[in-house]
C-alpha cells in the first residue's frame, strides 16, 4: 500500500531530510517504477532509483507542496524515460535470454500466477497506443497527475493532452472489445 503524501506531511518533515526522503520514496517509488515499466524503459528499477537520486537532494528547492513534488518527480522520470528510449533506438536491440519468457516449456502454476501480476499483459495492452497516447495515459493513471501537470511535463497544451487522452481511450476501448470478443 502506498501512502499519499500530503502538504502537511511535507511541512512537518521539513529539515529532517532522512525521514522526508523515506516518506517521499515510500510514497512515489511504486508509481515511478510502474510508469517507467509501462513506458518500456530497459531497466525500470535502476532508472527509478536514478530518478530518486536526482530528485531527493533537490527536494528543498521544489515549490508547490506535494503536487509540485509529484510533477517534478515525474518530470525527471519522463526525461529519464526519453533518454532511455533514445539510447535504445541508437543501440541494436538486445535479446537476453529470459527463462520466464521462454515459451517452449509448459508454464507452471506459479509462473501463470506471476504473469497475472507481472506487467507483461498490461504492457501488451499499451502496445496498441501511440507513443504520446501511451505517455498521457501512464502519466494520468499511474502517476496520477492532472491534465495540466501532464501538459507541463510533456510540453504540450492542456487541450492537446485531453485530445490524446480521448483518442487513447477510444483505441483501448476498441482493443478491449475485440479482445473480449476473442477471449473465451
Amino acid at each position: 500500500m502506498t501512502e499519499a503524501l500530503t502538504d502537511d506531511a511535507l511541512r512537518a518533515l521539513k529539515g529532517r531530510d532522512g525521514e522526508l526522503f523515506n516518506l517521499v520514496y515510500r510514497s512515489y517509488a511504486s508509481q515511478v517504477l510502474g510508469y517507467l515499466t509501462a513506458r518500456g524503459v530497459e531497466d525500470p528499477e535502476a532508472t527509478m532509483q536514478d530518478v530518486f537520486l536526482a530528485v531527493l537532494p533537490r527536494i528543498d528547492t521544489i515549490s508547490g507542496g506535494a503536487s509540485g513534488l509529484r510533477t517534478f518527480l515525474f518530470s525527471v522520470a519522463h526525461a529519464r524515460m526519453v533518454d532511455d528510449h533514445r539510447r535504445q533506438s541508437r543501440t541494436p536491440p538486445k535479446q537476453p535470454f529470459e527463462p520466464e519468457f521462454d515459451r517452449r516449456e509448459a508454464t507452471s502454476a506459479e509462473a501463470a500466477a506471476m504473469l497475472l501480476v507481472a506487467p507483461g499483459e498490461v504492457l501488451e495492452l499499451l502496445e496498441v497506443l501511440g507513443e504520446d497516447q501511451k505517455e498521457v495515459l501512464t502519466l494520468r493513471i499511474i502517476a496520477d497527475l492532472t491534465v495540466e501537470q501532464v501538459a507541463e511535463i510533456m510540453g504540450k497544451s492542456a487541450g492537446a493532452v485531453k485530445q490524446l487522452q480521448r483518442r487513447a481511450l477510444d483505441r483501448l476501448r476498441e482493443h478491449s472489445a475485440v479482445k473480449d470478443y476473442v477471449a473465451p
Binding site: M1, E3, V122, L172
Partner: protein
Amino acid sequence: MTTRDDFSGGTVDRLLLDAGHTDVPELRAALLSIASLAQMPVPAPGAELAAMLAGPRDELTRKRWLRQHRPTVVGLAVLAGMGLGVTGVAATSQVSEDGSGLWSVQQLTTDWAPDWTLPLAPAATGQDGPAGWVSPLFLQLDHEGPSAVDGPAEPPAPPEHANGQSAATPPDTRVLPPVKGPDWAPGAASGHGKAGQPDADSPRAGKSDASADEQSGQGSLQEGGMLSEQAAPAPEEGSEVRGESGRKKEKSSTGLLDSALDSSLDPISRWLGKLR
C-alpha cells in the same frame, strides 16, 4: 488514510467520465490494470540510494553545506594565509626608528650613495686647505664630520643638489681629480665596487681627469664655500627626508601588500566564480 486504490480508481472513473465511456466495463478493467502498475513491488534501494535514505545528515548535508559555503571557506583560508604572511613580514622586517630599513635596502642605499656624495667632496677638502687633491670617494668625507657620514645614507636629498648644480654650475667645476694617495686605492676600489656605477660615471671621471689640471685653487675654494653652505643644512634635510622615506617605505610596503592581496584574490575570485 487515502490509498493508491482510491486514487487510481477515482482517476480511472474520472477519465472515463470525461471521455464519455462510463458504460464500458472492459475499458475500465483495462485502465485499472494499467493503474495497477502503480503498485508494483518496489525493489530494495541500491547502495547509493539506501545511503541517502538512511541519513543524508552526515555525508550529504556536509557536502551540500561545503558546496554552498565554498566561497566563504576558501576566502577565509586565503585571508588567514595572507594574515600569516603579513604578520611574518612585519615580524621579520622590523623597521627601526633611526631609519635603517632592511639590510638589503640599506645596502642598496649605500650602494647608490657615492653618486650623490660626489659633489660634497670638494667642499670638505676645500676647507681643509688649498691642496687641490680631492678624492671622489665619499669615504674621505668621514674625516669631516656627521654630514659626511650621513652623506652616503641619504639617497633622496642629493637629486635636488644634483639638479641644482647641474643647472646652476658647469659640470666640470664639480668633477674631481683621481685618487692620488696609494693608501686610498683599496678604499676607492672597494667604493667603486660597491657603488655600482661602473659605466655611467666613468666618462665623468675621465672628464674630471682632464679638467682637474685646468681647475685652479680659488675656483675650488669658491665652489667649496658654496657647497659648504649648501652642505650645512644637508644633514637635517637628510634626516627629514630619511624620515619621509621611512614613512614612504612603510606606505609603499602596505600599498604593495594591498596590491598583492588584490592581485592574488582576483584569480581566486575568478576561480570561485567558475565553480559556482
